[in-house]
């Protein structure tokens, strides 16, 4: 990794706007302008590149501790850097579960050691993700990891009382409960979105209402106790309506959408290729369009990858036996460009908002998602929007290969990533 030094980014389209220069000195942005002098600085020719604040992911599975065969904090943060991220939230469903100060501090420390990307651990809401007893949320918050976001992701906090208590409890330290909205009884044995395709394929359906019913309950609970709730991976048009309604009430509700739910539909399941098996499931085209619109109008606050690495054998099998999840860190920005920017729904400034500023704000990450301005931390990503490439899984930095985009041509390429002034990716290669 290269040493911290002065770096001049020359001619980048700052947030997609007019070309300008950005001078980085040490870990911070020193100057923003045009025609800045290069003296003593390494010069990055950024002509044609778009400069964004370093991306922030609210929803990453780094798998360490416990499933180092699919990803580690090191490999996952390298993948994140390659995807233009400077901070990721590491989900709690590890082995052991991140439900104590000890585990979250371990993950946090591993992130610091990796140096590629800040790792902000997410704490479990309940002990062992069992949904029965609150984990020591305060201890995790007070730990070195400073946990703010709590989630049983992978499982829903389905007990209304537990959910209420968690929402109330985290008010003491401005925490947020990130809910994996999935009514468990309605989704027993569920394999894919319930609809026309599931009827044809004979796969147990996963009704939209199983997600929407929980969201409806949780926004009401959050309003009732005056806390804030964050909805993970929104996947249905109905969920969008509920979040829109909750926001119109002025309630403290935020929501994320994954890149794959912005692009892929359940038609792909006809292949029975488990690479398309994911939780929540791929939905219909109408859902995809509603999610895009909601991300554009701000109803959905941010894009989160739900990067979910799995070893080859967990996907190289029949659908029913396969694990759920897709990797996404290294393709997120490309998919968002494809689905949102190239379609005219978002400009690059809005991409910066949805993929950096807002997720950082939800996670209360002080050093990320900041404006590109003098004095701000130099967490920056440079992307080449004109680049097009066919997705080739073997080229991924992640330890896993379970991408749904194999063979798909996508736009955009992360050319440089800077974490506090230090290049983690330079000329498309990990530094």
């Amino acid at each position: 990794m290269s040493q911290t030094q002065r770096t001049l980014i020359r001619g980048a389209h700052v947030l997609g706007g007019a070309p300008g220069d950005v001078l980085i000195d040490g870990g911070a942005i020193a100057e923003v302008g045009t025609g800045l002098p290069a003296e003593g600085a390494r010069v990055i020719d950024a002509a044609g590149l778009v400069l964004l604040p370093g991306l922030v992911d609210l929803h990453t599975h780094l798998r360490e501790p416990g499933r180092e065969d699919s990803e580690t904090v090191l490999t996952g943060t390298r993948a994140a850097a390659a995807g233009g991220f400077t901070a990721v939230h590491a989900m709690a469903n590890t082995f052991p579960v991140a439900d104590t100060a000890g585990v979250v501090e371990q993950v946090w420390r591993l992130g610091r050691e990796s140096g590629y990307c800040d790792v902000q651990p997410v704490g479990a809401v309940t002990v062992g993700l069992e949904g029965k007893q609150l984990a020591e949320l305060g201890a995790m918050h007070d730990s070195a990891a400073g946990v703010v976001v709590f989630s049983d992701d992978g499982k829903c906090v389905d007990d209304a009382v537990i959910m209420r208590r968690a929402l109330e409890y985290v008010k003491a330290f401005d925490g947020v409960i990130a809910q994996h909205a999935q009514e468990p009884r309605l989704t027993e044995g569920a394999q894919m979105n319930e609809g026309v395709v599931s009827a044809e394929l004979g796969l147990t359906g996963w009704p939209a209402v199983a997600e929407e019913a929980i969201i409806a309950r949780d926004v009401l609970l959050a309003a009732h106790v005056g806390s804030r709730v964050h909805v993970c991976h929104l996947s249905t048009a109905g969920s969008v309506e509920l979040v829109r309604w909750a926001k119109s009430k002025g309630w403290n509700v935020t929501a994320e959408v994954t890149p794959h739910h912005l692009l892929l539909t359940d038609d792909l399941v006809r292949s029975y290729d488990p690479v398309f098996k994911v939780n929540p499931p791929l939905r219909t085209e109408a859902d995809v369009l509603a999610l895009r619109e909601a991300l554009a109008d701000g109803t959905i606050d941010c894009v989160a990858t739900d990067h979910a690495p799995h070893p080859h054998e967990d996907k190289d099998c029949e659908w029913g036996a396969a694990a759920m999840g897709m990797i996404g860190l290294e393709t997120a920005l490309s998919v968002v460009q494809h689905a949102m920017v190239d379609t005219g729904l978002l400009d690059w400034a809005a991409v910066a908002d949805r993929m950096s500023a807002r997720p950082a704000a939800i996670g209360r990450l002080a050093g990320h998602g900041r404006p590109i301005a003098p004095g701000e931390p130099a967490n920056l990503t440079l992307v080449d929007p004109a680049h097009r490439a066919v997705v080739e899984p073997t080229a991924f930095v992640s330890r896993s290969r379970n991408t749904p985009y194999r063979g798909l041509e996508l736009p955009g390429r992360v050319v440089h990533t800077f974490l506090r002034g230090r290049a983690t990716v330079l000329d498309g290669e990990l530094a």
């Binding site: 009827a199 009704p207 290729d273 967990d314 029913g320 396969a322």
Partner: protein, 334 residues
């Protein structure tokens, strides 16, 4: 024909008619003193069953043996390895043993499709029932029975399809691979299908199926040339799909009174095994209008036809319109 038979939708109308016609010819072999043909000598057919189904397995086994294929029965049920590993590893084992065809029964919908589209094996794959997806040879033998029963004349419908025939499928449509395969095949053959079930046992999305949907059995009986009763598992009651067996039988079971309201020529079908007293009464099951036993005997012929047409030549039978007569009766010197 395609190389694999995974779904009834793999079959064109001409494919399906060819299978049925071939099955008719092969059915005649069963009446001969020597019920064996040398056609698949040296070919290996593996029956790969991840789910118990003695009936289907012995039907495929008899079919393959009557064509002189070597048959390996592989029952993977109860295997201690995890499901995913076992399908792939088993497939690789079969490939190493030189399986020319794999007949697979699996509890997961899509497993045969996965086997056929993976690079795990090179042979052709025949779906013998996957989860709640499809069971195409069952649909073929149902169509075989229907064509025989509903076509007048000595030819038993050979060369023809089921154009305009009205078939009603009754029961647990949601969980039935038989219903899905029959829906597709019967539609391909020109029949008009109506599915009848309590709304809980119909899939969300059924409105997009190429069939009519009814919740009322009585209203469709008089308009049916065949009524196919599906097995309804009693355990469904516990998952609140219907309140009691008695209520199910009363609303959706076929009894003598209901059968009497069917047209005189109409038949009652059942893929077996029957739940007497549940979806069908003993009176109906034992009546000459019930084809359940014929369906079983037709099963061997239909499966012989499928195996022959997939494996008997250099490739699957060619049903694209072309000359099929032999031009030079004595063949070409090779």
């Amino acid at each position: 024909m395609k190389r694999h038979l995974i779904s009834a939708t793999d079959l064109t109308r001409d494919d399906a008619v060819l299978i049925l016609d071939t099955a008719e010819e092969l059915a005649r072999v069963a009446d001969r003193p020597i019920k064996k043909l040398p056609t698949l000598r040296g070919r290996t057919v593996v029956n790969l069953f991840f789910e118990d189904s003695t009936r289907t397995r012995i039907s495929f086994e008899a079919a393959a043996k009557r064509l002189s294929a070597d048959v390996i029965n592989f029952s993977a049920k109860g295997s201690s390895v995890s499901k995913g590993e076992s399908l792939k590893d088993t497939a690789l084992t079969l490939e190493a043993m030189g399986a020319d065809a794999v007949v697979i029964r699996h509890h997961d919908s899509g497993a045969p499709h996965r086997l056929a589209t993976s690079d795990w094996i090179g042979g052709c794959v025949v779906n013998a029932g996957d989860g709640t997806h499809e069971h195409p040879t069952q649909a073929l033998l149902d169509a075989f029975t229907l064509r025989r029963r509903l076509t007048e004349g000595p030819n038993g419908g050979v060369g023809g399809d089921l154009e305009g025939r009205r078939v009603t499928i009754v029961g647990d449509i949601l969980h039935s691979r038989v219903a899905r395969s029959n829906l597709h095949l019967l539609t391909t053959l020109g029949a008009e299908v109506t599915v009848v079930a309590p709304p809980t046992l119909l899939p969300i999305g059924v409105a997009h199926w190429p069939c009519a949907v009814s919740y009322d059995l009585d209203s469709v009986l008089s308009k049916s040339d065949a009524v196919m009763m599906l097995r309804v598992q009693r355990e469904r009651m516990n998952a609140a799909y219907f309140p009691t067996e008695r209520e199910y039988a009363r609303r959706y079971g076929l009894d003598g009174d209901r059968m009497a309201r069917m047209p005189e020529h109409a038949v009652v079908m059942h893929p077996g095994p029957m739940n007497r007293g549940m979806e069908i009464t003993a009176e109906v099951a034992d009546s000459p209008r019930c084809t359940a036993v014929e369906q079983v005997s037709g099963g061997v012929s239909v499966r012989m036809a499928v195996l022959y047409l997939l494996l008997g030549g250099a490739g699957p039978a060619d049903t694209t319109p072309a000359d099929t007569t032999r031009s030079d009766e004595n063949g070409q010197p090779a």
